[in-house]
């Protein structure tokens, strides 16, 4: 098969390329240049492109650099900023996977004559009864099925995830065996276009005016101080001082218009229903409908909880047990109850 491997220069995609080559595929590597600005943790810096190119040289495959900086700005960075200004907490990695890696790269790969696209994500594609399902990676600690939750059947049919059946330590062993110099490179983390040292606040501040908000205890009315509203997320505890009796307090409400953030004890913020943004709703199979019970995961490495889908005007997710709230803009990925590694669908959580 003719396969285009998205290579970031990291160990996972490097080994993915190496394993495909060993399996006898016709492999071409491509690195996506996504971000034109300064970043130190990204998958798209010049140094990473150089690493990916060197890996391709060692493996003996052709390597190309595809420039998606404009598309990245349009589909990922701008929505990231806009969402913050609207009081939402977006997940840019999910947007990047959806719009850049899968929509645009898949289309390009098809135009350029490839049969499939491969990435180094820790997840698996399983074909069953003529359909393709996304399944969690073999390494629980590294599973990335959450960020791939929006892939559609027709995309899964052309996607290869060559390292999804491996544990991370096995991936590193393969890298060493294949003589790839990235084998001891640290995993990339955080948002790739934001410099770790300067952080989200400075990034947003350079692009938009931010809102100073007062932080108020919703029950006692006590004013705790000030904060930047766009950086406060419902459910967050970090940066919120505990009550006098030592009770931890959490953000329960962010109101950018009133310039007010409310906090309260954990029990006051627990929710049992999540609203889902209908436009974002993606189902892996059509049989999933109102009333279906699923396992819901609300962050990249979060735990799952039982929930029931409900279509009543909008789409809702009724949690079987109250849980910490999920900030609007975050994604919830649904897994099968009877087969908890299989992805059923995904949706963005809407404002309450």
């Amino acid at each position: 098969m003719k396969v285009l491997v998205a290579m970031s220069g990291g160990v996972d995609s490097s080994v993915a390329a190496g394993l495909l080559l060993e399996a006898g595929h016709d492999v071409v590597g491509a690195t996506l240049k996504l971000w034109g600005g300064i970043s130190d943790s990204g998958c798209c810096t010049v140094a990473d492109v150089d690493d990916a190119r060197r890996v391709a040289q060692i493996l003996g495959v052709d390597h190309h650099v595809f420039n998606y900086t404009e598309e990245f700005e349009r589909h990922v960075v701008t929505p990231f900023v806009t969402a913050h200004l609207a009081g939402r907490s977006p997940n840019p990695c999910i947007e990047c996977n959806r719009h850049i890696k899968f929509d645009l790269l898949f289309e390009r790969a098809e135009r350029l004559g490839f049969d499939a696209v491969a990435t180094g994500h820790h997840a698996r594609v399983v074909a069953r009864e003529g359909s393709h399902y996304l399944v969690r990676g073999a390494d629980d600690q590294k599973d990335q099925s959450y960020v791939l939750g929006y892939l559609r059947e027709e995309q899964l049919a052309h996607l290869l995830l060559p390292i999804g059946h491996l544990r991370k330590v096995e991936v590193r062993d393969h890298a060493e065996r294949l003589g790839l110099r990235t084998w001891d490179k640290p995993d990339s983390q955080d948002v790739c276009f934001i410099e770790a040292a300067k952080g989200r606040e400075e990034f947003l501040r350079r692009r938009a005016p931010l809102t100073r908000t007062i932080i108020v205890d919703a029950q006692s009315g006590e004013e705790l101080g000030e904060g930047v509203g766009e950086l406060m997320t419902v459910g967050q505890r970090r940066g919120v001082t505990p009550a006098r009796d030592g009770t931890r307090r959490y953000v329960s409400r962010v109101d950018l218009v009133a310039q007010r953030v409310e906090v309260g004890p954990l029990e006051s913020i627990m929710v049992s229903t999540l609203g889902l943004d209908e436009a974002s709703l993606t189902f892996a199979r059509e049989s999933l409908e109102s009333g279906a019970t699923v396992l819901a995961q609300c962050s990249a490495h979060g735990s799952v909880q039982l929930a029931t889908l409900r279509h009543e005007g909008n789409w809702w997710l009724d949690l079987h047990a109250p849980a910490r709230p999920v900030a609007p803009g975050q994604s919830v990925v649904l897994y099968r109850v009877d087969d908890p590694t299989v992805v059923e669908g995904a949706a963005i959580v809407s404002a309450p």
């Binding site: 190309h64 650099v65 420039n67 900086t69």
Partner: protein, 395 residues
């Protein structure tokens, strides 16, 4: 697979006669030209003979030739060297550049401005064909202007720039006339440098666009224009460029200029025919527009844009077919970046995304051009039919 090399403007094929001339200085004892013994004297003699030849072929006196490690360094020395010197004697220094300069010039200037609040960069506009506008230049000049830099030929579009007009505007400005610099790197394979650059104070050239070695170039400093060295250590090159002079590189620069000059008329006549043929054939392809078609261009460059196509995809399929070409502006990552040159010409980003630069030289043959036309046509037809299919699906 046979290589069809259409990226001469990025780096020209190395000439055998240049390699031969350099060979003597790449083996065994090569004295340091600054020394005093016989090996050093022999090396120094080769450097000075190369300098004489470079001076003659660029149109300068031998003492006006500073050997450098390439075009980027030459531009850096011109911009930073003149501005540093100016700034030591003035409150403010302004660097005036055309918007379409190579990054070697733009980044040299912007770095100066970043590091010194009393240095600023002012940009001269170009018209829709990519030609520098002299009225805009006049507007940007002031009593603080330290240096004006306008390239002789643009490296992306191949468009010639009105250097004599630039010099006339600058020299007529008052109260004091600024130094003028031209990056003649892209002009050198095609034009008579003594004629084209005669009105400029400083001229940057390099060898590898002429079939010589990389990391070999020169800055011509005519008429005693004052500049500070960027690397003062050692005081070589009359104190303008410290560091041991690379004998082989200097010899290679002279040899590549000589070979270019020798073949110039024949190559220009022949490649001009290819340019016309290629331009005519490409203009029939769907969505294709020839960039700067109405401007005076050097024969070697055909720059085109394809509506609705992406350079990355064109280059990928061309590469698969053995064609080496570029999207003109490459960043250090190897990705095709959006071109500041096309932006300055007012070419819409959507169109600039589908840009392609095909550049030719002495080694290009008529058969190469025919095969390129055939391959490029099939690539463009394939991508246009595929992309219309994809957008049909999206609808």
């Amino acid at each position: 697979m046979t290589l069809l090399y259409f990226d001469h403007a990025a780096s020209a094929p190395r000439r055998d006669d240049v390699a031969e001339a350099m060979g003597r200085w790449q083996h065994g004892v090569v004295g340091n030209p600054s020394g005093s013994h016989r090996a050093a004297r022999e090396a120094r003699r080769a450097v000075e003979e190369a300098r004489d030849e470079v001076a003659e072929l660029v149109g300068a006196k031998p003492g006006e030739v500073i050997f450098t490690a390439g075009g980027t360094e030459s531009c850096q020395l011109a911009i930073a060297g003149v501005t540093h010197h100016h700034r030591r004697e003035h409150e403010r220094s302004e660097i005036v550049l055309s918007r379409i300069e190579h990054h070697a010039v733009i980044d040299a200037a912007e770095t100066m401005a970043r590091d010194d609040p009393n240095v600023s960069v002012r940009y001269v506009e170009v018209d829709a064909e990519g030609v520098v506008e002299l009225d805009s230049l006049r507007d940007q000049l002031s009593e603080h202007t330290a240096i004006v830099s306008v390239m002789a030929v643009n490296n992306e579009t191949g468009v010639r720039q009105p250097l004599d007009g630039v010099a006339a505007v600058v020299k007529s400005s008052r109260p004091r006339a600024a130094a003028t610099h031209t990056d003649a790197v892209a002009a050198a394979p095609w034009l008579s440098l003594p004629v084209v650059t005669s009105s400029m104070d400083l001229v940057s050239i390099c060898a590898h666009k002429l079939g010589g070695p990389v990391n070999s170039g020169a800055l011509i400093v005519r008429g005693g224009v004052a500049l500070d060295p960027v690397t003062p250590g050692g005081g070589q090159e009359r104190g303008k460029r410290g560091g041991t002079v690379d004998v082989a590189a200097a010899v290679g620069l002279a040899a590549s200029l000589r070979a270019t000059r020798r073949d110039l008329t024949e190559v220009v006549d022949r490649v001009l025919d290819y340019q016309l043929r290629l331009g005519a054939a490409l203009s029939f392809l769907p969505g294709c527009a020839i960039t700067s078609g109405a401007a005076a261009r050097v024969p070697g460059t055909v720059h085109v844009t394809f509506e609705g196509l992406a350079s990355d995809e064109l280059l990928f399929l061309l590469d698969q077919a053995g064609v080496c070409a570029s999207a003109a502006a490459s960043c250090s990552s190897g990705a095709a970046n959006q071109s500041h040159v096309l932006a300055a010409m007012g070419i819409a980003p959507e169109r600039a995304r589908g840009s392609l630069r095909l550049s030719m030289g002495a080694e290009t043959t008529s058969t190469d051009v025919d095969r390129l036309i055939e391959i490029l046509s099939s690539v463009v037809y394939r991508l246009t039919s595929e992309s219309s299919r994809t957008s049909d699906l999206a609808d």
